[in-house]
Symmetry: none
Subunit: 124 residues, 4 copies
């Protein structure tokens, strides 16, 4: 479920955060599901427990999971997450479009890429 890439510029804990969020959006994790324990996930991913710990605490700061002392870490699905993520991605979209136009990539070319990706996603 998690795949870490050490050559990626994103730090490991960030990759865990991102992949957890993505797992929620994809429906792999549902509201109130229990996450694996820090030690367990660390063992599975062959990383330091402090790395997983940091990932969980970032997720908790974002309100995406909740840690209950002595019980574990649980998904706290809040529709707001989707709203936040949408806002972030729309900003990113604007940036990328600006760069595309700067590089003389036409609107039509961009739409072609969009349609290609759409097809790929639909297939899955």
């Amino acid at each position: 479920m998690y795949t870490l890439d050490y050559s990626n510029k994103d730090p490991i804990y960030q990759q865990i955060v991102d992949q957890t969020k993505s797992a929620i959006l994809k429906g792999y994790y549902k509201d109130k599901d229990q996450m694996p324990s820090v030690r367990e996930l660390a063992k599975t991913l062959l990383v330091n427990t402090s790395t997983v710990s940091r990932a969980y605490s970032e997720l908790e700061k974002m309100g995406i999971v909740q840690t209950i002392a002595g019980k574990g870490t649980f998904i706290l699905f809040d529709p707001k997450i989707i709203k936040w993520e949408k806002e972030k991605i729309l900003e990113k979209l604007e940036e990328v479009f600006k760069e595309c136009l700067l590089l003389d990539i036409s609107k039509d070319d961009i739409i072609k890429v969009l349609e290609k990706i759409e097809e790929e996603v639909v297939k899955k």
Copy 2:
């Protein structure tokens, strides 16, 4: 012309590199133009000379700039740059689109954003 953002996770020298590339693409710098001297730009941007020096040397490794010992640093415009940049931005575009679709942002919504940006850019 250059605007540094210290809260940005990208290091200063990288921001100088990126903004220089962008300046070339926008036509502010042209082939064979002399760049400001290391000391001069450092003074302007209120950073250390070695930071600017590092940025220039990165640009040189990319073949975007040529430094002639004792003379200065000069723009070396090569149409290949545009090719490289296009390839990079198209990859980024695919990633962003994938994320959008994952978040149930519709193709139409994406195109609306695109059209908004297009208008903004055209106005300038």
Copy 3:
């Protein structure tokens, strides 16, 4: 293992880069080996940490080494390195031969030198 020559026109960081590559080719370093830490090597070689750091970052850009934040720097042996090195040395070989012939050094004399070196290397 490393020997720095301050009278050499090559900068220190470059000597570290070259000797590291050479160490890999000679088999002293193997794939996935951990390099000495920046601070450690700096202490051993009596140079500044930033000098070693620069050498490592050059090696990383060349894809010869991978640095994992917080863990260290590791050899990333890629057979391509040998290809690159071979191409470079063959170019150098052509240049030197041209100079030799220009100086009226005969083919036979050159081959004698080659045989002398071959023997030396074989002995080791």
Copy 4:
């Protein structure tokens, strides 16, 4: 006669020195020939007079030219030059051969390159 390469790592004055020596070895310059004046060569090569001046003074240090105040700079051909150059190139040859063997380039491959270059040179 002179061709300067600004992208070459060798400084300009060094390129002038090397090409002058090469011109002597090729017989373009002969003993007691007068070299172009510093100003003249600087003008021709579009470089600073101090650059040419430095080149001439290096040549003088090596005993390859002689400057006579008020008269000009003259070639001072001494057969020793060839001896020195030969010694230098033979050292270089040894280094390059060592590297070749380290990279598993066989003696036969090296000889093939040598023969290729020999043919090229003979044709000229």
